[in-house]
Symmetry: D2
Subunit: 356 residues, 4 copies
C-alpha cells in the first residue's frame, strides 16, 4: 500500500491523535461515501484509508479526503497495522469473504446490511468474530434513528403493552438493483427494526411477490411473519411505487406507535389503543372500541444523524464500553428471516418454518 508512504506532513496531526479509532472504508460506491463522511467527521475516528475497485471513484474520494490513503486492493487495508477497524460497503455477495478476511486480520468490522446472502455464511461470520475476539456490527442504520430509539424505550418500558402487530411499508420509485430482489434490498431495514423491538422469535415466514420489470428479480413483495403468540408482523416492500412511503405501525394492547419517516417533524406518534371493548347499549352486535384519553402525542426525538450515532456506538463497542446495538447475532437473524421469505417466495407463498 504505497499510498501511505506519500501521506503529506499534515497527516501527522491525525496520527498524533492516538485516541482516535483509525478506520478504513472498503467499497466506495452507493453507501460507502456516507460511511466515509461519518468516519471523517466523528471526533473519535480518523478516515485512514479507502479501498474501491474503481480508480474513478477513488479519485472522487481523494478530492474530499486528500489525507486519506486510497487503494484498489482491500487487502492493503487488512495488512495496514495502523488500521483498527474497517467499514465494509461492498456488494452483499462479497460480505462473507471480505468480513472474514478482515476479522481474521484482527480488524473490527461494521458491514453494510444484509450481513450476508445466506444463513450459512452469516453464521460463519458471527462465529469468526467470536473466535477472533473482534466486534462485528451490521449497519442496520434505522436502529439509530431518534424515532426507533424512542419506540424501543416505549416498548421496553411496557408502555405499549402486549404486542399485537408490526406493520411496515417501505416503498418508493427509483432504484433498481439487478443483483438482488426487493426483499433482500429493502426488507432488512424493517426486519431489523422489528427484531430490535420484538423479543419473541419468528416461527413462520410467508412471502408473495411479483416481477414486472426485470424478469429475474421481484420488484414488489409482501411478507408475513408469524410467532407463537398472536403477534403478526407484515412487510410491504416495493421498488415500483409512485411515492415514497416509509411507515411502521406497532400495535399493542396499551399504545400504538406510528413511525412515519416521511413526516418532516413529528415522525413518531403515540396513540392510546383503547382496546377495552364496551358494548353499545343500542346494538349488541356492534361494539365500539373506546379511546382512553384519545390524545395523540408526538414525542420529541433525538435528531442526531443515525449514521453518526451508529459510528459512535461502534467506536464505544470496540472500546468495550458497551455491546453493539446491531451486532452480528441480530444481523444473522435478519438474514435467516429474509432467506425464509425468499424460500416462501420461490414456493408460491407457502409458509416456511424458521429453523435455528
Amino acid at each position: 500500500m504505497t499510498a501511505t508512504v506519500s501521506r503529506p506532513v499534515l497527516a501527522a496531526s491525525y496520527a498524533a491523535e492516538h485516541e482516535r479509532l483509525r478506520v478504513g472504508v472498503i467499497g466506495y460506491g452507493y453507501w460507502g461515501p456516507n460511511l466515509a463522511r461519518n468516519v471523517a467527521t466523528n471526533p473519535d475516528s480518523v478516515l485512514w484509508a479507502i479501498a474501491d475497485l474503481s480508480p474513478r471513484r477513488l479519485s472522487a474520494a481523494r478530492d474530499l479526503y486528500p489525507l486519506t490513503a486510497m487503494t484498489t486492493d482491500y487487502t492493503d487495508l487488512l495488512r495496514d497495522r495502523d488500521i483498527d477497524a474497517v467499514f465494509v460497503a461492498t456488494p452483499p455477495d462479497t460480505h462473507h469473504r471480505v468480513v472474514i478476511d478482515a476479522l481474521e486480520a484482527g480488524k473490527h468490522v461494521l458491514v453494510e446490511k444484509p450481513l450476508a446472502t445466506s444463513t450459512e455464511e452469516a453464521e460463519e461470520m458471527v462465529a469468526t468474530a467470536k473466535r477472533c475476539g473482534r466486534v462485528l456490527a451490521v449497519d442496520h442504520t434505522f436502529l439509530f434513528t431518534g424515532a426507533v430509539k424512542r419506540m424501543k424505550e416505549y416498548v421496553a418500558a411496557g408502555d405499549v403493552g402486549e404486542l399485537y402487530y408490526f406493520d411496515s411499508i417501505r416503498i418508493n420509485l427509483g432504484l433498481f438493483n439487478h443483483e438482488t430482489n426487493v426483499v433482500w434490498d429493502l426488507a432488512p431495514h424493517d426486519v431489523s427494526i422489528m427484531l430490535h423491538l420484538v423479543s419473541e422469535p419468528v416461527r413462520r415466514v410467508s412471502a408473495f411477490g411479483a416481477r414486472h420489470v426485470d424478469t429475474n428479480v421481484e420488484n414488489i413483495a409482501y411478507i408475513t411473519l408469524e410467532f407463537e403468540s398472536p403477534l403478526l408482523a407484515h412487510f410491504h416492500v416495493n421498488w415500483l411505487a409512485p411515492a415514497k412511503v416509509r411507515r411502521t405501525i406497532v400495535g399493542g394492547s396499551k399504545k400504538m406507535l406510528v413511525y412515519d419517516d416521511g413526516e418532516a417533524s413529528e415522525k413518531l406518534r403515540v396513540y392510546d389503543s383503547g382496546a377495552s371493548l364496551c358494548a353499545s347499549r343500542e346494538d349488541m352486535y356492534r361494539t365500539f372500541v373506546e379511546y382512553r384519553t384519545g390524545d395523540v402525542v408526538a414525542p420529541k426525538l433525538d435528531k442526531t444523524e443515525a449514521l453518526a450515532a451508529e459510528t459512535s456506538q461502534f467506536i464505544r463497542s470496540v472500546r468495550g464500553i458497551e455491546e453493539p446495538v446491531s451486532g452480528g447475532e441480530l444481523g444473522l437473524e435478519v438474514v435467516r428471516i429474509i432467506e425464509a421469505a425468499q424460500r416462501s417466495l420461490a414456493g408460491g407463498g407457502a409458509p416456511v418454518e424458521v429453523v435455528r
Copy 2:
C-alpha cells in the same frame, strides 16, 4: 298561519308523483338511515316505508320522515303493491332470506354489502333475480365515488398500461363487529373496487390474520390475490389501527394511481410509472428507473355523494336505462373471494384456489 292546516294534505303530493320510484328500506340500524336519507332526497324516488325490528329506531325514523310508513315486519313492505323496490340493510346473514323474499315478491333490490355470507347463498340470490326479472344491486358504495369513477376511466382508456399491482389499506380504530371478522366487514369494499378495475379473474387467495381483542373474530388481516398474469393484489384490513387510513395504489406499466380517501381534496393522484429501465453508466449493478415527465397530477373529481349517485344509478337500472354498475354478479364475485380468504385464514395462510 293557516299553512299548518294543510299539513296532512301534503302527503298527497308524494303519492301523486307517479314517476318517482317508491322505495322501502328494510333495516334501520347503522347504515339504513343513510339509505333512507338518499331515497328521501333523490328527486326520482320516494321513501315509502321503513321496516326495522326495533320500535325505538322506527320512532327515530318517524321524527325525520313523518309521512313514511313504519313497520316492524318487513314482509309488510313486500306485500305493499305500491312499493317498487327495497333497499336492504339488515345483518349480512339475513340478506339471503330477505333478498330472495323481496325478489320473489317482485321488488327490485339494492342490498348492503356483502351480498351474502356464502358463495352458495349468493349464487342462489343472483339466480333468483334472473328468474324473477328484477334488478339485484349490491351497495358497494365506493364504486360511485368520484375517485373510483376516475380511476376506472384511466384504466379503461389504457392510460395505466398493463396492471402490475393493486395495493389497498383500510384500517381504523373504533368499530367492532362481533358477528363477523374484519375480513368480511372491510375487505368487500376494496375487493369490489379491485374487481371494478381489473378484468382478469382471481386465481388464488391467501390470508393471514390475528385475533387480539375478541378471541372469536380476526381484527387484523392481510389478503393476497394471485392471477394468471404477474398482477398481484393485496389488502390490509384492520380494526385496531391508531389512525384511519384508506389508501389504494394501482401500479401499472404506464401510470400509477394513488387514491387516498383521507385527503381533504386531491384524493386521487396520477404518477408516471417510468418503468423504462436505464442503466446508470457508473454502476452497472444499480439501475435507476426514470420518471418520464415526473409531473404529478391530481385530477378534478366529481364530488357527488357516492350514495346519491348509486341511488340514481339503481333507479336508472330499474327503468332499464342502464345496467347496474354494482350488480349481483359483482357482488357474488366479492363473496367468492372473501370466502376463499376466510378458508385460507382458517388454514393458516395456505393459498386457496378460487373455484367458479
Copy 3:
C-alpha cells in the same frame, strides 16, 4: 299496510311535545337549510315554520319537512304565537330590520353572522334585545367546534401563558359574494374566535386589500389588530386562493396552539413555547430558543357538530340555564372591528382606532 293511514295523525306528536322549543327559520338560501336541519333533529326543538321569499326554495324545504309550515312572509312567523324563537339567515343588510321585528314580537333570536352591517345597527339590536328581555345570539358557529372549545379551555386555564399573537388564515377558491367583500364575509369567523379567546380590547385596526375580479369588492385582505399589550392579531382572508386553508395559531409565553381545520383528525395541536432564551456558548450573537419538553400533543376533541352544539346552547339560554356563548355583545364587537377594518381599507391601510 295500514300504517299509511295514520300519517296525518303523526303531526300531533309534534304539537304535543310541549317542552320542545318551537322554532321558525327565516331565510332558506345558503345557510338556512343547515339551521333548519339542526332545529329539526335537535331533541329539544321543533321546526315549526320556514319563511323565504322564494316559493321554489320553500318547495324544496317542504319535501324534507312536510309537517312544517311554509310562508313567503316572515311576519307570519312573528305573529304565530306558537313560535318561541326564530333563526334568521337572511342577507346581512336585512338582519337589523328582521331581528328587531322578531325581538319586538317577543321571539328569541339566533341570527346569522355578521350581526349587522354597521356598528350603529348592531348597537340598536343589542339594546332592543335587552329592552324586550329576549335572547339575542349570533351564529358564530366556530365557537362551538371541539377545537375552539378546547382552545378556550387551554387559554382560560392559563396554560398558554401570556398571549403573544393570534394568527389566522381563512382562504379558499370558490364562493364570491357581490353584495359584500371578503372582509365582511370571512373575517367575522376569525374575529369571533379571537374575541372568544382574548379578553383584552382591540385598540387599532389596519387593513389592506385588493380587488382583482369584481372591481367593487375586495377578494383578498390582510387585517392587523393592535392592543394595549404587545399582543398582535392578524387575519388573512381570501376568496381567490388555490386551496382551502383554515388555520389559526395562538402563540403564548407557555404554549402555542395550532388549529388546522383542514386536518381530518388532530385538528388541534399543542406545542411548548419554550420561550426561555438560552445563549449559545459558541456564538453570543445567536441564541436558540429551547423547547421545554418538545412533545407535541393533539388532544382529543369533542366531535359534536358545531351547529348542533350551538342550537342546544341557544335553547339552554332561552330557558335561562346559561348565558349565550355567542351573544349580541360579542356579535356587536365583531361588527365594530370589521367596520374599523373596512374604514382602514378605504383609507389605504392607515390604522383606525376602535371607538366604543
Copy 4:
C-alpha cells in the same frame, strides 16, 4: 498569510488545476461552512482559504479541509493573488466594509444576504462593484431552488397571467438573533423571491410587528407591499411559531402557484385560477368561481442543491458566460424594501413610500 507556506505537497494537485476558480471564504460561523462545502465540492472551484475570527472554528474547518489555508485575518485573503473570489458570510453589519475591501482588492464577491444593513451602504457596494468591474452577487439561495426556478418559468411564460397577489409565510421556532430583528433575518428570503418573479416596482411598504421575548427586537412581523397595479404582496415572518412553515402562494388571473417547502416532494403545485365569474342561477347575490379544468399539477422539479446551483452560476458569471441571477441590484432592492419595512414598523404601521 504564512499558512500558505505550510501547504502540503498534495496541494499541488489543486494548484495545477488552473481552470478552477480559487475561492476564499470569509466567516465560518453559521452559514460559512455551507459555502465552504459547496466551493470544495464544486468541480469548477477550489476552496483556497478560510478566514474567521475564531481559532476554534478554524480548527474545525481544518479537520475537514486540511489543504485549505486558515487565517484569522480576512485581509490575508484579499492580499493573496491566487484567490479569484471571496464568499462573505460575516455578520450583516460588516458586509459593507468587507465587500468593498474585497472588490477593491480585485476579488469577485458572493455575499450572504442581506447585502447590507442600509440602502446607502448597499448602493455604495453596487457602485463599487461596477467601478471595479467585478461580479457582486448576493446569496439569495432560494432563487436557485428547483421550485423557484420553475415558478419563474411559469410567470415568464405568461402562464400565471396577470399577477394578483404574492403571499408568503416563513415561520419557525428556534433561532433568535439579537443583533437584528425577524424582518432583517427572514424577510430577505421572500422579498428576493418576490422581486425575482415580479417585474413591477414596489411603491409602498407597511409593517406591523411585536417584541415578546427580547424587548429590543421584533420576533414577529407582517409586511404588506403595494404596487401601482392592484398586485398585493404580503409576508409573515416569525421566530416564535410552533412549527416550521415556509409557503408562498402566487395568485394570478390564469394560474396559482403554491410553493410549500415543507413538502417532502411535490413542493410546487399549480392550480387553475378559474377567475371567470359565472352567476349562479339560483341566487344572484352569490356567484361561484369556476375551476377551468380543476386538475392540480405538481411539476417535476430540478433537485440540485440550491447552493450548488448558485455556486456554479456565480462561477459562470465570473467567467462572463452569464449575468448573476442574484446580483447586486437585486440585493440592493431587497435592502431598500426591508429598510422601508423597518421604518414603517418604527412608525406604528404607517405606510412608507419606497424612494429610488
